[in-house]
Symmetry: C2
Subunit: 153 residues, 2 copies
DNA sequence: TGACTCATGTCAGAAGTCTGACATACGGTT
DNA sequence: AACCGTATGTCAGACTTCTGACATGAGTCA
């Protein structure tokens, strides 16, 4: 019991959560004046870079369930930010597109979010940023391996 | 429009969210069989390492609002995992303590979470882990600076 | 062709978290 | 002492996200 708990001050997991929480809070702060949430923005940004993504693909990209993304997409469609075909051309997949209004709304949000990212990286050199990316990728990779397979049986 | 959006594949912010999401999912997977959520566990772990924390302090430590933590604490108190004095000795602060039952429940959870953290760090050397900690701390520091002060006016 | 598996879109209900608001208590200032 | 800004605990309502469930369609295999 010398090391009974996970030392929160040193734990990479805790620091990861702290950093992610700080980033989310900062994004919320700059997106709120634009009437946009983080998931809302993530969805639009994904559609901007990869037009035609389906509901499920957007959900995976924004790290929410497809049910949650569905709720959001219906609201975005209702408000005219995105469009989806009424019927699927193949299977059940409904490719989503950004409307001009959605694109316009995204512009300001992207600028705001970029300012946050710039601030976040302000104290790091290019090399450190590259190292950070590699490290985060490594973490994702490690966690994906045998993900829950021991528990899910 | 050559760099109109934030390239999600390269963005440190996106990778940070992805890593944090993967960590959370992995933690949820191992905590679910124990009937425990991540916030639930965080609260207990915080109390184990720093007995007597108040509701607001626990909220900050678990990265939720004090209202959310209050809801959780009431449930934990009702179920006998923690105790709080009925009246504050000084101010309104109610120092929270882990009960034996809470401590016992935490033991299994800590082991489960530690296995996740071990898996997360499996591909990294000690030096890389230290570098990761430093980098995450740097990010938190940068984001805290002038946090929302431009927007909150 | 038929059965099976997998992925998708969607609905409904439950759970967690958030914002807004209020009363209370401390600390420093006047 | 009186005031003011800050922090805390708490209640209430709303929002977001989740889990559970169902039907549909593609792909595989016998």
């Amino acid at each position: 019991m010398s090391q009974d708990g996970i030392d929160l001050e040193t734990s990479v997991g805790y620091l990861l959560k702290e950093a992610s929480s700080a980033l989310r809070a900062a994004m919320e702060a700059v997106l709120r004046p634009l009437g946009m949430t983080v998931t809302h923005y993530s969805c639009l940004e994904l559609l901007s870079q990869r037009p035609g993504l389906s509901n499920s693909e957007l959900a995976r990209g924004a790290f929410v369930t497809r049910q949650s993304m569905n709720v959001l997409l219906q609201a975005l469609e209702r408000d005219g930010y995105v469009t989806r075909p009424v019927e699927a051309r193949v299977g059940k997949v409904l490719p989503t597109q950004l409307t001009p209004r959605g694109r316009h709304s995204l512009e300001k949000a992207t600028a705001a979010v970029r300012s946050v990212e710039v601030r976040m990286l302000s104290g790091m050199t290019r090399e450190e940023q590259a190292a950070a990316s590699g490290m985060l990728r490594s973490i994702v990779q490690s966690l994906r391996t045998t993900e829950g397979s021991e528990q899910q049986g």
